[in-house]
């Protein structure tokens, strides 16, 4: 396939054009706005499908496309300052593009049902199109700078959509909170970009990879720490902000104030996943900077803590929000323990089932006109299709075998177990154990949610009677069913556990593991000899013939820490062990967790309130979300920042204003008096008036020349010609 600007750019441009056209039409013809948005994203989906099919048919880890055009070039001689923008598509990008466009298409279609008749619902599509184009642009970007730009556009869209119902005060506050909290991470992200620029001189991924492979980061330090560590940390701070990791996770639950489709698209499937995507892109840097342990801790803590909070939530969407934070924590944990491939796979699978869950929750909320689970119950008779879709996704997120969530999450847990037991680094044991506890809690709160919503007796008869029975509708539950099909694990992996308890013979079913290879070790060295291609050129990177041993040689790309010499027989063996043990452990954990949920909410053997009352302080902590909001607002902002501000204000008005500025003013006043005298006496009366008088006298002499008689001028002209020719002639 020949990649030109016409085959790549529409992915980004179609939603963007939809946005621009909608900007024009939103006042005049608001009816067509949703359809333009849907057309834009579906068109982008087809282009993305074509690219994915091409990559899938090539089926080679080394295959990528990197096309650039020059954006800024103010190089002057030796001083080179050049910024290229471009497109970098490798296998990961292709998968990501397919996921984003597909999920976004379905969410757009769902929104046309969900938002219909809502206030400003055309504007909702406007933001949705802008957001989608920014996300696709981020995925396509070949460098950190444009990633950052699209990142900020997405932040703006997130802000606008969270505060979509800005009549409600909480919505406005929530949007502000989300924007401000992610900003903390963004500042670090920008610092990280600058740090990388200072070393590499360029910010596009292949150049960074090549520089890392050449060892450009070795030996450089900043603030007493390695520059690689510093820049990796800064980039990862962007991830913390955007992906709502500990300690900046506080904004995501509040972000549920926005419309549900936007929660599905932004706060479940794409934007928060973009943070993880960024960390995956920066994986070589993290590896070189030896930040794995830190990241694993962050991920483990997030996965565990959010899961605990999710258990007691009453709001349907809040449960999903905390489960999102928890699952994002798993992805980050995956990055920390070195399972690059599994983390990315979890990103994709999570995006699909969590988008479906959110859409299903939206369907429930919109049909039932309530959002608290305490008012629900027994809805499976009223909403059968939603019920089916939601069950599929719940099984997937719970990690039940044969579903996608099991495949991806289990591989992360297996790698964590390997790092804990076999790698010999004891510090990894805490994140791993937290991850396993989270894996125990996840099925419990998800099943609890399902039982409270769809099963048992109904708890609000009036609303229940008022709710219509659901029919199959193309823009309500068909998108849910389509998404729920893709929660089956078979689409992502031939084997149903991390490392293959049940193997399927066909090689291509293992595509996900084979194609997405971590850019470390050998995978990094290939960037040493890469060349940029302009957009007009035909893609020249031919693929080496696919070797039959590809399956085996790349089988363990998800291996914890490629640096640990994965060719070592012993390590290989250990890894197998760890994965088998991890799979068995997680299956057992899931079974116990599900049984507990059944015991509590279906059979009634145990009363949840008993535990609720018993664990007093713990419950109090969970209820207050581990006091993070209290800490940020009351301690950091009110006690810290506000007092600092007050002090600075006092300093400004009391010291600086009074002494520096007023004193300077007094001095100036005397100077002005002196200069005023000088001006009046010397300048005005002597210089200015004198000049004027002189000019007047001179003009009296010269104005007789300007007589107004044209012919006199001509005579002067001729005389001048004669004189000039005299000079020329001699």
């Amino acid at each position: 396939m020949n990649y030109t600007i016409a085959t790549i750019a529409p992915i980004f441009l179609l939603p963007f054009f939809a946005f621009v056209i909608n900007c024009v039409f939103i006042k005049k013809i608001p009816k067509i706005v949703p359809w333009i948005s849907i057309a834009g994203i579906v068109g982008a989906f087809f282009y993305a499908s074509a690219i994915f099919m091409d990559f899938f048919s090539v089926y080679n880890t080394d295959y990528y496309i990197h096309k650039v055009f020059n954006w800024i070039d103010i190089s002057h001689g030796e001083n080179i300052f050049k910024i290229d923008l471009g497109v970098y598509i490798d296998n990961m990008t292709a998968v990501m593009l397919l996921m984003v466009t597909g999920v976004a298409s379905l969410i757009h279609i769902f929104s046309s049902w969900y938002m219909k008749g809502d206030v400003r619902w055309e504007r909702f599509f406007l933001y949705l199109s802008l957001f989608t184009s920014a996300m696709l642009g981020l995925v396509l970007s070949d460098n950190l700078l444009s990633v950052f730009m699209f990142w900020e556009v997405m932040g703006f869209c997130s802000y606008s959509l969270i505060g979509f119902y800005f009549e409600k005060e909480e919505a406005g506050n929530a949007s502000l909170k989300a924007f401000m909290t992610t900003r903390v991470g963004d500042v670090f992200f920008l610092l990280g970009i600058l740090a990388i620029w200072s070393v590499v001189g360029s910010v596009d991924f292949p150049s960074i990879y090549a520089a890392i492979a050449d060892g450009a980061f070795t030996g450089k330090t900043v603030f007493g720490m390695s520059l690689a560590t510093f820049s990796a940390f800064c980039i990862f701070c962007g991830t913390i902000g955007k992906s709502a990791q500990f300690p900046l996770q506080v904004w995501l639950p509040d972000a549920m104030m926005g419309p549900t489709p936007c929660s599905a698209l932004i706060h479940a499937a794409t934007m928060v996943a973009a943070g993880v995507y960024l960390s995956l892109r920066a994986y070589p840097l993290i590896f070189v900077g030896e930040l794995n342990l830190f990241i694993a801790y962050i991920g483990g803590i997030t996965a565990f803590g959010a899961a605990t909070i999710a258990i007691i939530q009453k709001d349907l969407k809040a449960v999903l929000a905390y489960s999102t934070i928890s699952q994002l924590g798993y992805m980050v944990l995956g990055i920390g323990v070195g399972s690059y491939n599994a983390a990315f796979m979890h990103l994709i699978t999570h995006a699909i089932f969590k988008a479906c869950l959110f859409l299903a929750a939206g369907s429930v909320i919109h049909s039932y006109h309530a959002k608290y689970m305490t008012e629900m119950g027994g809805l499976r008779k009223k909403l059968p299709y939603t019920w089916i879709a939601m069950w599929c996704c719940t099984l997937a997120i719970a990690g039940v075998p044969f579903f996608s969530g099991f495949v991806s999450k289990d591989r992360i847990l297996g790698d964590a177990l390997y790092m804990m037991v076999y790698s010999g680094i004891g510090a990894y044991s805490i994140p791993a154990i937290l991850g396993f506890i989270g894996a125990f809690l996840t099925p419990f709160y998800m099943f609890r949610m399902m039982f409270l919503t769809f099963h048992g007796k109904n708890r609000n008869k009036e609303k229940y009677d008022h709710c219509h029975k659901e029919h199959l509708k193309w823009n309500q539950n068909v998108p849910l069913l389509i998404l729920s099909v893709f929660t089956l694990g078979v689409f992502f992996c031939g084997s149903m556990t991390g490392q293959g308890i049940i193997k399927v013979a066909h090689q291509k079913l293992e595509w996900f593991k084979v194609l997405v290879e971590a850019p470390v070790g050998d995978g990094l060295n290939k960037f040493k000899s890469y060349t940029k291609q302009g957009f007009s050129n035909v893609d020249t990177r031919e693929n080496t013939a696919m070797e039959s041993s590809l399956y085996d040689s790349h089988y363990h790309t998800g291996f914890a820490g490629e640096g640990f010499d994965h060719k070592n027989e012993q390590a290989h063996h250990d890894l197998h062990h760890a994965h088998v043990e991890g799979a068995v452990a997680s299956v057992v954990i899931v079974i116990f967790s599900i049984l507990l949920a059944f015991a509590m909410y279906i059979f009634g053997w145990m009363n949840p309130n008993f535990f609720y009352n018993k664990l007093g302080f713990w419950v109090k902590a969970i209820k207050n979300k581990y006091f993070f909001d209290w800490f940020y607002v009351d301690i950091v902002i009110k006690k810290g920042l506000l007092r600092l501000n007050r002090f600075l204000s006092w300093f400004d008005s009391g010291i600086y204003d009074r002494y520096a500025i007023d004193g300077w003013a007094t001095i100036n006043r005397y100077i002005f008096k002196a200069s005023h005298w000088f001006d009046r006496v010397v300048v005005d009366s002597i210089a200015v008036d004198g000049t004027a008088v002189g000019t007047q006298i001179f003009s009296l002499v010269t104005k007789s020349i300007q007589s107004g008689y044209i012919q006199k001028y001509i005579i002067a002209l001729v005389g001048a010609i004669v004189v000039i020719s005299m000079f020329l002639g001699f």
Partner: protein, 105 residues
Amino acid sequence: MITLKAYLFISLVLFVTGLVVMLSRKNIIAILLGIELILNAAALNFVAYSKYTAANLDGHIFALFIIVIAAAEAAVGLAIVIRFFQVKESVHIDEASDLREELTR
């Protein structure tokens, strides 16, 4: 044979005639006539030099542009004259001195 100097002489005659017409007449249109003569003299010089000294046709190009500019100048100039006539009801050149300071002497 005809030499360059013959053309230059004719050109000089044209130029001087134009000059005299411009200087001696008080009608604005007559002055425009003089300008046309002077422009023709210049164009003739260009073409003559082009033939006798240079091997290219740049002189012809210059002559063409002079003709173009003369046409534009005549159009705009005559339009101004007619407008002037509408306002002042005269085409005397000395009437066109509104912007001059009134001389008391």
